[in-house]
Homo-oligomer: 195 residues x 6
């Protein structure tokens, strides 16, 4: 049993990258062009193009499709869930995203540290309180929790999106933890200064 | 704010079903033919075909693609994770699946109640212990946990599959909890008698 | 140190069964006649007739004596407590009982999976919320918790019965866990179809 | 809804004491003679002589019958479990008992505060570690936990007694918490000085 | 690696006592005169007079300086926090203090066992509920928690003192736990009888 | 009850700053000169110079005095403890310090996110594992935990320093949480680029 290579993207030797489909190659190229790199989570999934495509389809829909939640709000959920789970990968990657989308690097950090300290609007406090409870004690969600979101102004369709986003990061946090996934170093410096 | 309809699949009014793509229609037809019903989780996602297709792509790859884990082992992970999270939907649906794949209804129930009581082979105990720790305290997974799986005979590629499956049900458990998703009644009676 | 016999009722070798008193023999005979078997918990206690009689006296009083709680409600408490504690023995045995008394096998399963998903009447939700809190954080019960039961229509005498039943299964769950007590296989098939 | 009487033994009005059977009257008389009082837990159960007798039968067998555990060891389990559960009644009553049986009031207090600080012999540390795990996470007890007790010199029969005693106080702690049971004031001063 | 000396004040060999400054010598002399002994926590810190002086300055200000909280109330916080953390040293030392300041040994014990059982005035219940939450889940304190203290009659300046005292015992509990600090035996008998 | 001023250093109105002693004024001046600002925690304590001086004396001794732990290691403990407690103030202030002392901004972030992901040397992993356990379950520290530190190369005197530092941040995290203490904005940008 060899010691995992500390420079690898994950601590598992899952084999060489698969040959990308044209659609995936185009996607990787676009990452390279827009971000300057391909996010390591995609490289981690790269040994199997079916898994990779399914992951991309799900995350892009959740984070980028039309929604009553702003893209910033969806990143806030990603970061708040990842903070509960102490997920290094997601705090690095989505911490950068929330700094960027908020155009406010300090607020971005705040969500990663403790959203309660961020003095967010009531709507966003309700959203993150729900995401936190769903992360910590999913079995105890009840109608009153959904009612609190409605009272904060969210539609039922918005509640689905809050739930699906919080749920998704409970998955990806765990995949990252299980595999010791390492974020691209470039995330560290992204959006550190106020836009 | 109207009270959610208790007969609905979920406790959220997310709008009418979208028109299925031909591929999705074929998929639903196949469910109907093989199971006698379309699983409610698919109906729940049915308001948006992009979300529905991404969910199907991910779950079918995880549970049905080639893997060093048997299909039964993947269902065991689904059920053990859902037991930690007390997820009614997933315990009903995957409880049926594990009863069916095990061809042993009692063993199926056992995993849903407490896998430690099932006196499983060491390999499967190691697998479920990892899935349980990843569910409960993902931040505390460390190299020793992966090493324990290797010592139990799993390859690094298998460990990815254990991780990805356990992570996925941490997502779907939470989506089900957040939306009060109701399983098809038919699951209850499936595979109750020894095959 | 020999490996415990996996076919034994418990994982401890506590010696041979004691000679039953006539009263206990009659009790076992009645179990055999009515259930078709003697519950394994009684066999487990069978090495000592004093312990066995005290156990029977307590459980029969709790579950069968006159009470403001119906027998079904007492089984619901047993199952909800056992679900928190993930007790295989009690979920098998009292899961069967709740399916039988409810004359509704699906509702029975539901309580074992997550009572919050069962959409019970407010009275029973209050009862199970109290039993759950008493199970998880007994030190934090306060007057407000008793007041919530009174507000749900329970008398003080009923509250004693809720408390005593929930407390009892916190005991028997732990005896079963500590000894790896195995339920009779017959429980699995009992009351699986709607009466 | 009247406020519970703060001088009552419990915070529930469960009705007047039942007429004691001759056996129970004799038992109460003996308590009065030996302790100078009837323990409040018996008064609390006094509204129903069937419940009272079953409770006495169980607790007296556990704490006083022949066992490979000394009576002091059984009181140590009672106190260690009650410390986890922060049970006022049991810490007062069994704290007195452990001070008395140990003939060492300081050691008695120590178990109530934190048994790990008591530098007990390895046998008793193993016993209390098992009782603590059984109290906190019963679902996670496994063969290794029983093996650790055997390695510390306990027979399987002893392990039953450790388990049954720890389980019993998980019941009585919860009955006391649920009913706000008040211990007799006399416990406070018992066995405070070294015998 | 030698086994720690069980008669030492702590389980660490941190070297010989430093030569006390005149101020510290006077302080130790005063302890000896007033209490009959120097508290072991001071002896534990005695290897370094800078650390010792800083500890004394902080604890004496917290517990003895002018405050909207009575000295008894500050001891109640010390004991309630130490009960959550099961800190033997602090329960022994501050248990004695609360018995003494309350001039009520039984009430003193009660706080150490479970403050909820003490039927304290609403003001003190609010104070201890805040201290308990701050101990268990500091990340979840929010404005509503401070508001509850204000509603119970505390000024903002009092809230600082509640917070600082609860926070301090979360420190000293952990120093005591980490070093296995042993309290002076004399604490055991202090203030056991009603003044 | 007025709403706390969101621009204030803490969410409590504890009155105006006290007149600083010459020693404290010199200390504040030195902060201003070296950091460019006075840390908000000092401003928060500024209403009372006795409390302020005691806090400074303790923290400066812990973090700056001679020790077998490097100053970086002490900051790592501060950050790892604050991560468990999700303390915004301490993660901001000591996150900056750890970035600065490590001369490695990315490693600094890593400790704040999850020290297990940082692949630290065995010595520092042992140190942070102890600090984490002391933070989460102080009652369960036992001789084996101290032995693990000794095996990692720490002297008993070093163990005191690990314990005292971890304990201290369990205090200051809670004071910050209880008062909603806000860090100076300047911390955000400190030491973000590799030195």
């Amino acid at each position: 049993m060899s010691k995992p290579n500390k420079d690898a993207v994950i601590a598992l030797d899952v084999g060489p990258p698969a040959k990308l489909t044209p659609a995936l190659q185009a996607y990787f190229d676009k990452c390279q062009e827009k971000l300057g790199f391909v996010p390591n989570v995609l490289r981690a999934y790269g040994f199997d193009t079916v898994k990779l495509q399914a992951f991309i389809d799900m995350v892009d829909d959740l984070m980028l499709a039309d929604s009553g939640l702003s893209k910033l709000e969806r990143e806030m959920i990603a970061v708040a869930v990842s903070a509960v789970n102490h997920c290094h990968y997601c705090l690095a990657a989505h911490g950068a995203a929330v700094r960027q989308r908020a155009r406010d690097p300090i607020m971005g950090e705040l969500i990663a540290q403790n959203w309660r300290a961020a003095h967010l609007p009531a709507r966003q406090q309700a959203m993150l309180a729900f995401a936190e409870k769903l992360t910590e004690t999913p079995a105890k969600i009840e109608e009153a929790d959904r009612a609190a979101l409605r009272a904060a102004g969210f539609s039922d369709r918005d509640i689905w999106d809050i739930a699906a986003t919080a749920a998704f990061y409970n998955m990806s946090n765990r995949l990252a933890a299980a595999t010791d996934m390492k974020p691209n170093l470039a995330y560290h410096d992204m959006a550190r200064t106020k836009a």
